[in-house]
Point group: D2
């Protein structure tokens, strides 16, 4: 089967590589010509590409399958442009990080033109080429069924994890690592929640490891404590010098918190035991926010996911004004001497 890929950055190129390995062919569109040249050299006859959108569309067999894999900010405009060039029966896939609201709107906009719209949330990051990509898919059932050969090649496959006890017989697509989640937007909706969970789980590890990191506060000179906080009641309970990188490593085997995130954490801590290469300002890229927005709309309590999100906001200094306000209040009612700016 043939796949058209718009955007040959890391993710787009690796998806092309996975399907070509599996016997499919690919056509690529990318403004940076060298990306096309390199991929052609690597993949040979199974791949051709163009820096011009019209030529790219012309290279595709009908019904065309066009996967858009570019930064979320640019996705809308590109989908509009390519839709102009497509015909009824063609398929557009947004494999990026669009908010699912846009999928619902786009699917409705493209329907009168007879173009089928599919949204695919794609997880796997830099490891997707080897591990395969976990695919969460929204769209019409028949369209998604049509894409099955490609999806199967992109997904990790059932052998990449032990089968869940009780599941026997022909594996479901979920067991292969891809799932049709529902109509337009359902794929990005499920991917959004996936990332929201990721924020929460990441914060759980980070908070816990921070407790280990500071387990020696009972040994510290109490200057900081006496100035700003009440003295430790039991300093004798906090005299551990814990080797955090080794703890992350030991939890990888046999423990309840073993996970791929922990594997990565252990690798980072092995390479940079004190995390000196990081400044502590943590970005957030939309999905975590949208997850909490959705939870609020649904009336679903998500204190953990929200706390994880707010921690990132605070890491970038966005709580400072509120903190100054607290100091102002303390000074006002208690006459506490609050610290001035450094």
């Amino acid at each position: 089967m043939q796949l058209g890929m718009i955007g040959l950055g890391r993710m787009g190129a690796n998806i092309v590589r996975r399907i070509v390995r599996d016997g499919h062919s690919a056509v690529g569109y990318e403004r940076r010509a060298e990306h096309i040249t390199e991929l052609s050299a690597e993949l040979g006859a199974s791949f051709q590409g163009s820096t011009e959108l019209e030529k790219f569309v012309g290279m595709l067999d009908t019904p065309r399958v066009v996967w858009v894999m570019i930064p979320a900010g640019a996705t809308g405009a590109v989908i509009e442009s390519v839709a102009e060039l497509l015909e009824p029966g063609d398929i557009i896939i947004d494999g990026g990080n669009s908010r699912y609201h846009e999928d619902i709107r786009r699917a409705k906009d493209l329907e009168p033109k007879g173009i089928h719209y599919v949204d695919i949330g794609t997880s796997g990051g830099v490891f997707g080429l080897i591990r395969g990509y976990c695919l969460m898919i929204g769209g019409e059932a028949e369209t998604v069924a049509h894409l099955d050969p490609l999806l199967r090649s992109i997904a990790p496959g059932v052998d990449t994890a032990p089968r869940t006890p009780g599941r026997t017989g022909t594996p479901s697509t979920a067991e292969q690592g891809y799932l049709h989640c529902g109509p337009a937007g359902a794929g990005h909706f499920v991917k959004m929640v996936h990332n929201g969970i990721e924020y929460g789980a990441m914060a759980a590890y980070a908070e816990g490891l921070n407790i280990l990191h500071q387990a020696n506060v009972g040994n510290q000179d109490d200057t900081e404590h006496s100035a700003e906080v009440t003295p430790l009641e039991h300093p004798e309970f906090y005299r551990y010098d814990i080797d955090v990188p080794e703890v992350a490593e030991v939890w990888r085997r046999g423990s309840v918190v073993a996970s791929w995130l922990l594997d990565l954490t252990a690798a980072e801590l092995y390479a940079d035991p004190n995390l000196d290469s990081f400044g502590g300002r943590v970005s957030d890229s939309g999905e975590g926010r949208w997850t909490v927005d959705a939870a609020i709309d649904e009336g679903v309590p998500t204190p953990v996911l929200a706390a994880a999100l707010f921690g990132r906001f605070a890491s970038r200094g966005n709580a400072v004004y509120a903190d100054k306000m607290l100091s102002a209040m303390r000074q006002a009612f208690g006459g506490h001497h609050e610290l001035p700016p450094a």
Copy 2:
């Protein structure tokens, strides 16, 4: 009635002033002689004091009433010293910020000596002289009853707030502003929870005012956003330049969030509209921590009180290691370029 006061700092001296104004007399102990001299000059024959503990005790009528009003760290030793000098039937009051655990222990230790122990959580801060002090009291009922004339003079009095609808007849002591909460430790327990609530309410104001303060993010150059976060979907909704000090002021009258904390906040914001005199490192002084500890022991969910406490920890930089860990994970799975130290 006579009160012995150990510690003539701001709080101790003001309590003495309140009872003397009401016709009682006071004896003070304080190592800094000038505090005694000044208070004697101010209060005349109703006050005498000493820099020696034994002399202080000698000046007291029996049964002696000794109120200890010194920093929490020093309270234990002073209570032990003065207890050596007292006789059966005498009363020791801890009016400071001890953890209630210590009250339970001290009451038990003093019982064999026949000395009565009373713990009084005292709220009012720098305004107590004028407003009166809210007193939360733990100890034996008879002992607390014996102290009633003094407590009534220290407390604000029923006229300082409108009576609660439905309450008629002789006001209860709670309506006067003092309350016997239960046996030893109950006073400091209630005061501890009072402060825990204070943390939560303070954070509620500070967070809300921070939203107002940053209501113009839609006007900002998007450099920060594009580098670290997803762009604002609707910048047109965030183009307000809100005058936060005026908002704090307007809420003081007629609104649901009117409170004494808000009065103080409005005053601080009027004096320093941008809070430039504060560095944003917020101290915590024990009670907020103990409140959450107690909630955990009881199995009572206190997400708001705990979030307020953790915000203070984070304001002092204690989340940085966890934040670096999050950046490390993001780099590992997503190839995200995370910010190095500044």
Copy 3:
């Protein structure tokens, strides 16, 4: 000055009463004729009304001032209807609980017609008639200035609270209890955040009082504990039977947490000491959600406000599915015997 009021429910009628008391006149529109009759009887010549919108508009002097005070769900349609009947220079005020997004849109829609739009967030609840209403106002400066005589009569007035230290001379409108916060939407934006803070402060009190309520867990038969949780390490610290209504009362005078919310809490607890008339399902009415949405858009951490909101969601049973999931996991990894449905 004359005010046209659409909606003579409790809030609308009380606003009319306040301005009439202050020498203004009012015209009312209300479908329920008896509301008009009653208000006419009460207010005499200063008030007239109609059950027909066109007649109502016809009774108004130009430039007309039309204050819409009806449930948020109906506001949009009514504003559209009345706008059809107005002329350039007339003013429409939305004094209800609309989301500020709608104000921005409505102001833009009405601009070509020359109709001025003002949004006023109104706090005061059932007590507004006596205490006055705190008014947070968005719109063009000149329009708001034109309304000043009415706003001043509706607001509480400077005498309802002591002036903030440092503020002297002619009181600002904020000190009177009303404030022009910015262009269209700014009034409802500030009111929204006000309510967000209210959620947080309410939860702070509720959590703290719950700790007091359960301060006797050390006396309880440990069946619950042994089955589901670890035994209390120090039951001797949790043997207090705290009189929660009296504690709420005592904090009203002299304490740092004194507030109007606390006054109301004390009144409720006096009337219903065990809160037997409440089922524990807490509603939320939009502003708390929108506040957290805005915080997320701005990147402002609001862990306390969000925790308060999520607590309300959970109170209505919306966490149960998540809780079952936790039990399922516990059973899976630990062989824990988890409780089946009751």
Copy 4:
């Protein structure tokens, strides 16, 4: 090498099985004779046991190694009893779930007798026999080194996970799945934090899956909404019927949130898709509480771990009093009609 095991429940017996398989021998103490009989039948000459503590001690080679693997509540008394029977140079291991405070005390108590004390936090649950147990160890370095042959047999071994990139040569013990974390208590300290993280990660999954579960609220009859909450602004965004068990399955392969906890969750959801066998009351067993206690002592912000803990408290009805308080306040200031008890 020989291991003495006190307590032949599931965990104790499985540890014995793992060391015997690896060529070691074991002696067991257990009051329930049938446990000894069965294990003897299974393991033959490599195992012997007794229902009497003195006989058990007599069967052990010196220096004796006694691993206590019984419920936390009984551990202290048993350690005291067995310590009476041991000699200088012998080793006692607490492999249960004691709080690390107790380890510090016990190690100090046993030191004068020349008995070495080791605390081992053991993770692995019902799967430990096959997967091996992750061991977190506290105690003197020489004593832990002496136990190395046994620990290596109990731990999972390096082959149970891919080696962390960059780690080459002889695997560290952490890579084998066991780690000497520090002096007395360090093992249980690290295990405690491990469980704290587990609470947070579990809640992250549960909250996210709950959002998926309720993604169809836009299709629901709005009765609930209109009575208690503001209507959904965009019901069209919440019309998904998501197959939660299939989503849990698809995330197991290739996604960032793949983990052992997710494997278990997928298995539970496959077996009981609507989680009908659970009542939604979630237990907590100490470590989650102690983790937050430790974070508070250290001044480390742990909003995620605390939110997870509080969610469990609330699942058991412990927020109801606070929720009633919120309804009481709402009724008081807004005249809201709050729901009575069902």
